[in-house]
């Protein structure tokens, strides 16, 4: 085999599987990430896929690393193409250092050096081409020189519902692949030195949608109504599958309008509810968000962003809906927008969202995206003992008034059937007991009452996180899921004059924002959208216009490499302020 592809890998290997939808990439991803984690490796996976059930070119990147890595990298260390199109699809990410392992017979002439491993033939020799995925997984295990026992034990568990014969054949397929991997490794085709950590084995491996859902459970969520829409469907799926476990009402509504009106009705009757949707589905919910604002209903709204307008790129990622969620809903009423940076934050912030919604009686958003929803990595079990479900429902007395005026603007929230009072809510302007009114004086007081809640909300804003040196010269500003990619880029750059300020609550903006920003000589904003929406928010609420911007809106998340590249460009001494538009 060609000497040029023999290479030395450090402690961070990026494996990419690419093929048509329906070829089993997801199965390999599931198998490989789990078995690697079982072996004590940190694993991270992210997928990019087309909006189709069969065909096309989809790829999954799996990073196996000594240190926990949770960002997308451009580089491919090991590529397993399942068809010829895979090479074309990933051409710009393949370098002379990429080790391509595949079936030459299937791939034909790719113009790249390929290590030929006939997965299908091997699988057929074991008992059927269906085992090809397991051969591939075995081979990668072999490359990493992981004990075969771990694979065997894992396959037994993974396929426990299948017959003993199926399990046995998978084991045989795994062993054959494993042997090839070990041989490749012995021949010096690849040298991997990723460290294993025994503790990783006991960590939880799940994706963003699952962790977000578990956060909802930890926040006391017991009601979800939603309409399936990528990338939010995973949340409805998780909640439905665990409906009996946790006592969650989970309903696929006839449309998004019904979904959100159901959830508002559920809060009214004492449940803790959420909707999960994408930008387009959220657009249908907007009138009801205004209803929640008017009747001061708590609600948790998860919006998974994907490139728009309209149907856009249904299965891709973007941070294009910040202004959409911020300004949606007619009229003036308070709201709160949380934007988790990673899976752990998705868990914690969603948990918190339910308490905040209940406490302030306002819509609380979990603004996430396809990148977050679909990424998997291992993380330690969250410490649940620190998390409390805060419930603010009161028992009503005979003269209960749902919208009674208070100092803070927050009226004690009663529910029907708990206490002697009537709980009356009205989408019309109403008086303290919830009855329709057109009295101008009451109107004025009610507007002020609702807006006054912002004062209490401002006291509980999740502070931005500063990563890096306190005494920075340059400050990178980002929000939501650019968290890990910027952190890793800065770590790679190793400059102690550049720090990163990450916001996981984007509205209202934390009062310290201006302070952080004015301390920097140079500011660089990074957003996964085309118009720097968060930058506009900063300008509006912190009074600072960030000139340097790195924007990406081709449908893919930022890669570590491009963040490094553009940061270096913009950080050059005497560089003019510029807007970098990433992506090919």
């Amino acid at each position: 085999m060609n000497e040029t592809i023999a290479r030395e890998l450090k402690d961070d290997v990026s494996i990419v599987l690419c093929g048509e939808a329906g070829q089993g990439i997801q199965t390999v991803e599931r198998l490989l990430t789990r078995v690697m984690k079982q072996a004590g490796f940190n694993v991270f996976s992210t997928k990019e896929y087309m909006s189709r059930v069969r065909g096309g070119s989809n790829s999954t990147e799996i990073r196996i690393s000594s240190k926990r890595r949770t960002a997308f990298v451009n580089r491919i260390d090991i590529l397993i193409p399942l068809d010829k199109d895979a090479i074309t699809h990933l051409a710009c990410r393949i370098s002379e250092k990429t080790l391509i392992i595949g079936e030459k017979e299937k791939l034909g002439d790719t113009g790249c050096p390929v290590i030929d491993v006939p997965f299908t033939k091997i699988a057929a020799s074991v008992g059927g081409i269906i085992y090809a995925n397991t051969v591939a997984v075995g081979m990668i295990m072999g490359l990493f020189r992981i004990e075969l026992d771990i694979l065997n034990e894992f396959l037994g568990r993974f396929f426990h519902a299948k017959s003993a014969d199926v399990i046995q054949k998978n084991k045989e397929a795994g062993a054959k692949g494993y042997e090839i991997g070990v041989n490749l490794s012995r021949q010096g085709k690849i040298d991997i030195s990723v460290q294993r950590h025994p503790g990783v084995k006991d960590e939880v491996l799940a994706n963003g949608a699952e962790f977000l859902s578990m956060g909802a459970v930890a926040g006391g969520c017991n009601f979800i109504a939603a309409y399936p829409m990528t990338p939010s469907t995973g949340i409805l799926t998780f909640m439905s599958q665990h409906s009996a476990d946790f006592g969650i009402f989970a309903e696929q509504a006839e449309d998004e309008i019904s979904a959100i009106n159901m959830v508002i009705g559920a809060w009214y009757a004492g449940a803790r509810g959420m909707v999960a949707t994408a930008g387009g589905g959220y657009a249908l919910m907007v009138e009801a968000v205004s209803l929640a604002g008017m009747i001061e209903s708590p609600i948790v709204i998860s919006v998974g962003q994907r490139p728009a307008p309209a149907t856009g790129l249904p299965t891709r990622t973007e941070q294009g809906d910040l202004e959409h969620v911020l300004y949606s809903g007619h009229g003036e009423f308070p709201r709160l927008i949380l934007a988790p940076g990673d899976i752990e934050s998705a868990f914690l912030l969603t948990q918190k969202a339910f308490n905040l919604a209940d406490k302030f009686q306002v819509p609380v958003y979990i603004l996430n995206d396809q990148f977050l929803a679909d990424m998997y990595y291992n993380m330690p079990e969250p410490d649940l003992s620190k998390l409390k479900v805060e419930r603010y429902i009161v028992k009503t007395g005979k003269d209960y008034e749902r919208f009674g005026f208070t100092e803070s603007g927050i009226s004690p929230r009663g529910i029907p059937g708990y206490g002697e009072g009537f709980v009356d809510v009205d989408s019309d302007e109403h008086d303290e007991n919830g009855h329709i009114t057109e009295d101008f004086d009451v109107r004025k007081k009610m507007v002020e009452k609702r807006l006054k809640k912002m004062g209490s909300i401002m006291k509980e804003i999740v502070p931005p996180e500063l990563y890096g040196n306190e005494n920075y010269q340059s400050l990178v500003v980002g929000w939501g899921t650019n968290y890990s990619v910027v952190k890793e880029a800065l770590e790679y750059m190793g400059r102690d004059d550049v720090s990163f300020l990450h916001f996981s609550q984007v509205y209202p903006l934390h009062p310290d924002t201006a302070g952080y920003l004015t301390r920097a000589k140079n500011l660089i904003l990074i957003e996964n959208n085309a118009t720097a929406q968060f930058g506009k928010l900063i300008k509006l609420y912190a009074g600072i216009d960030i000139q340097n911007k790195i924007l990406k809106y081709n449908g893919l998340p930022f890669t570590v490499e491009e963040v490094v590249y553009y940061l270096n460009e913009l950080l050059q001494p005497h560089a003019e302020p510029a807007v970098a538009r990433a992506g090919v």
Binding site: G247, A266, F422
Partner: protein, 287 residues
Amino acid sequence: MNANPYDMGKIDIAWCPGCGNFSILTIIKQALAELNIDQEKLVVASGIGQAAKTPQYFKCSYFNGLHGRAIPPATAIKASNPELTVIVHSGDGDVYGEGGNHFIHAVRRNPDITVIVHDNMVYGLTKGQASPTSDEGFKTPVQVNGVFEEPFNPVAVAIAMDASFVSRGFVGYIKETKELVKKAIAHKGFALVDLFQPCVTFNKLNTYQWFREHTYFLEDSYRPDNRIEAFKRSLETEKLPLGIFYINDKKPVFNDNLDIYKQDKRPLFERTEDRNGKLLEVMSLMK
């Protein structure tokens, strides 16, 4: 009569003098009192329109939501707390027009709620446009040449979808309608009362007299257990039948299908038990 616990006494009511809604208010208050519904456990959901103001005018808990969207919150309220009696009051434009999709899917879900549709075949609150149930030829400032679409037939649609309780009333017959409403509320499952009600201001066609002349009561011998027969009756247009067209009490009720109520009958708000143990169990399967 004046000892009705739902009565609010002298209040300002936004309906026009002579509006059919006044009779509906009387009917619903009497029906509720006679049924001995626990007043603290009653919720009336409504949308927007003149009909949707009904819960403002009697003592009850209410959720006066968005136009066309009364049924989803009503379904959710019942699903969150099965101990509540949930009634929807809204108009034909609200339930059959703006909220048509919810109407259809509520029939499918079969939640234990009663939907009383004040059907006056016109849009009152927006001052006289056609509604989904307006008759062909009905002229309005918007339908200047008259309505040319066939009116929506809610009774036929509900029967076609095997709704569990389908009925029609006319407010001109207070006693009969009250009995109808009582049966609808007592019914376990989705109960539709399509309730004819003249709009004295904007509908000069479908007047009290018109309804008297164009309706008749389903005869005593009529049995509402035959879907085909019920459907046949629902298609009659010469004279519109009143009464209970169809009952299917074998249809599973929404809450009974829900996992959350299989073991535990308590309302959701009472379930404050710690779920962390279970959550850890679920997480352990992801290890």
